[in-house]
Symmetry: C2
Subunit: 433 residues, 2 copies
């Protein structure tokens, strides 16, 4: 369980004092800088006025994978290219990020103001508190080797499980939503807090990392408390493993002794940007939708079942001998029993990114302006070769859901074990710890 | 003030009964439809379990302009093209929208289920309650005349104030964020509720309207209660007129007897998608940022002032005779005293739409992958010829903020007066009411 702490009033007054002290000397031009004095203490203290629940940054696992629960309502995910020219600069960046992450998740400014001339924080999340912010980091294939070049002396340390995903039937990947050397996922109960955190981390990278693509998403899990519905109107995540069951988590989600030491307690994230033809889906009859998913829409129960968490009866037949849960139903294809027991921890968000002209890839092959909306699929597993890859190999061929979904973005990241106090993000990849 | 009502438990049980009755007969295929029976009553009743505050749809003004306060935390704005071929179909669509809007804002399904074969609601917002949803409609220039053609016999009724905006220096408008015949703005305290409402209305248009562009946005106003900060970290909206002061609102925001009768009690919405070079802005010193805006970042007070709502002293000078609030400061250029007394009601949201390659238009003319993020500017006024147009004519030339902002989308809509019970949206445009 994650240890919750409440934003410390003392912390912020101390921070305000630091700002006043540091900036007071430089004030004057253009009417002065308003940080100095008692007024600024009170104003900075507003930082604690709202939603002061803070999630811990340090721990045995990275937060934002199996915790917190319920999942935060918003995410801002960034895939970065690394432009650092040497290992030393890369490590320095990770050290800076570690300090900033500890501050940001506590609801503090990204860095302590040092001089009046140094930007220290955009302040756009100043009044919003920690908002359960978590920051989760991953390393993509490009960090280990880029265009055949071992830039940071890491090529030999690339885990076998960090595979390049194969091409799947029907996917239409776009470079602007694909790949990346490093991932930073901010989750928070406010979209401004999530974006702010990524923005500060990229700024603090000081030119050693640049944005490759980003994706914002939302979920209603924190409002409904139960399993949230995705944009198709179905509950999404019912089959997630019980995160409180250490045995299950260690078997399926967390990397264990089979992986390199720096990955132990970590997990592999597979990201897929799945555009959904919602206009098409919304024209379908309820019964058709339910047979496509293999579940009842309202309750989330498997077809033939009564309650959301009822086991799928994959052998049940109707009076004509047809399977109650069709052979092409999404829920059947994703069931552990159909996947050699494999389980993934899904932590998916919905996305809406305006509208664009698109050609649907299934009948009636409509071409039109449609919502660029769908599912920001993120699934964690201890080995994608046993989790996502074989499962989606099969789904991509016969899942009835493919009539409405197109994978347009893809990435895979090795998310190291948790950061311990005194260490920096991914330290074990670079040195023995 | 808006009259709040709480989602009625009775309403939803009645709705559930209707679904059960209508769908019960059609259940069976593929394992049956789970709506029938006591279980579905309980499930649909979840609809009332969260955030049950409902905003009224009917009234003397359209809701979503001056109310509710604080502004909802999310918006989904859609500009539509009208593909209806005659006036009758257009009116029928507005009548359907009226009924659906009344239902959706009450937290109900988009329509009452009639037969099991008719899609009635995507159900993705089922568990979320009304979430203070408001739906605000507007008519754009294309509705009155499109390519010189008066499709609906409305050309002669186009209000003089519904002008085509002139070209402004520095704007870089993109067709995919510009124009539209009809606007639908959904605001709610949940992004899924806002998107759901627009999606249902477009579906119910039944081919008479298609999406031209959409824009999602967020604001922290409902969390901070006071003036929210935008992504630049400054409080945004301090100068808004007092919405409770009918005299001010009638003078500046609501259309009065100078306009056509169907616009009385309505207002003109100017939409601008303003991309902000946040990476550039975040490198600037605090003092520079404050002189650019003309306000202190932390308090929101005008330069030279102490409190957020202090009046701007535009004549104040420093010891060297320079204006405390610079001649090019954004706050000076927007002040009513500099604009013949004009005031607008700003109801702006922030947006983050991933990242894209861009060339900044000011030094250092950086070209890079940058956040496609910024401000979804929406301002209401009784006449854009006295509000936005002259104000932005000046700003677009000399505002110091232009170094960081680029207008990439634009639209203007005539938002009619409020819908009365028994009437339909914009009825006065089509017939005497």
């Amino acid at each position: 369980m994650s240890r919750k702490s409440h934003g410390s009033r003392r912390t912020f007054i101390a921070a305000a004092g630091g700002i006043a002290g540091a900036l007071g000397a430089g004030a004057g031009a253009g009417g002065g800088i308003a940080f100095a004095g008692a007024k600024s203490h009170a104003a900075l203290d507003m930082h604690t006025a709202q939603d002061t629940v803070a999630e811990p940054f340090f721990g045995s696992h990275q937060n934002g994978i199996a915790a917190p629960s319920p999942m935060q309502s918003h995410t801002y995910f960034a895939a970065l290219d690394i432009t650092a020219t040497d290992r030393k600069a890369l490590i320095a960046m990770l050290q800076t990020w570690t300090a900033a992450s500890a501050r940001l998740t506590a609801g503090r400014l990204a860095m302590a103001p040092a001089t009046p001339d140094q930007p220290f924080d955009s302040l756009d999340a100043l009044d919003l508190g920690p908002s359960r912010l978590t920051l989760t980091f991953g390393f993509g294939p490009d960090l280990f080797t880029l265009a055949g070049k071992d830039r940071f002396g890491l090529a030999a340390r690339r885990p076998a499980a960090l595979v390049d995903l194969p091409a799947f039937p029907g996917e239409q990947l776009e470079a602007r939503h694909t790949g990346g050397a490093v991932s930073v996922q901010a989750c928070a109960d406010d979209p401004q807090v999530a974006f702010h955190a990524v923005r500060e981390l990229v700024r603090l990278a000081g030119g050693n990392a640049t944005v490759r693509w980003t994706q914002a998403g939302f979920s209603t899990a924190n409002r409904t408390q139960g399993t949230a519905r995705n944009l198709m109107g179905f509950k999404d995540g019912t089959m997630n493993p019980p995160v409180g069951d250490a045995a299950v988590m260690n078997q399926h989600i967390w990397v264990g002794s089979e992986g390199p030491r720096w990955m132990q307690g970590g997990s592999y994230a597979v990201f897929r940007r799945i555009r959904i033809a919602l206009e098409h889906w919304d024209q379908m009859k309820l019964g058709f939708q339910e047979r496509t998913i293999g579940r009842h829409k309202l309750s989330g129960a498997p077809l033939g079942g009564t309650h959301e968490f009822d086991a799928l009866d994959l052998k049940a037949q109707d009076k004509d001998g047809n399977p109650i849960i069709p052979a092409t139903a999404h829920a059947r294809l994703g069931a552990p029993s159909e996947n050699a027991g494999a389980q993934m921890l899904r932590r998916a968000y919905n996305y809406t990114d305006g509208a664009s002209f698109v050609a649907e890839r299934w009948p009636p092959w409509k071409q039109a302006m449609e919502y660029d909306a769908g599912l920001m699929f993120i699934a964690y597993q201890h080995d994608p070769r046993r989790g996502f890859i074989p499962m989606f190999e099969k789904m991509s061929r016969i899942d009835a859901l493919n009539q409405f979904t197109t994978h347009v973005g893809s990435a895979v990241f090795a998310c190291p074990g948790g950061v311990r106090h005194g260490q920096y993000i991914g330290q074990g990849l670079f040195e023995a710890v």
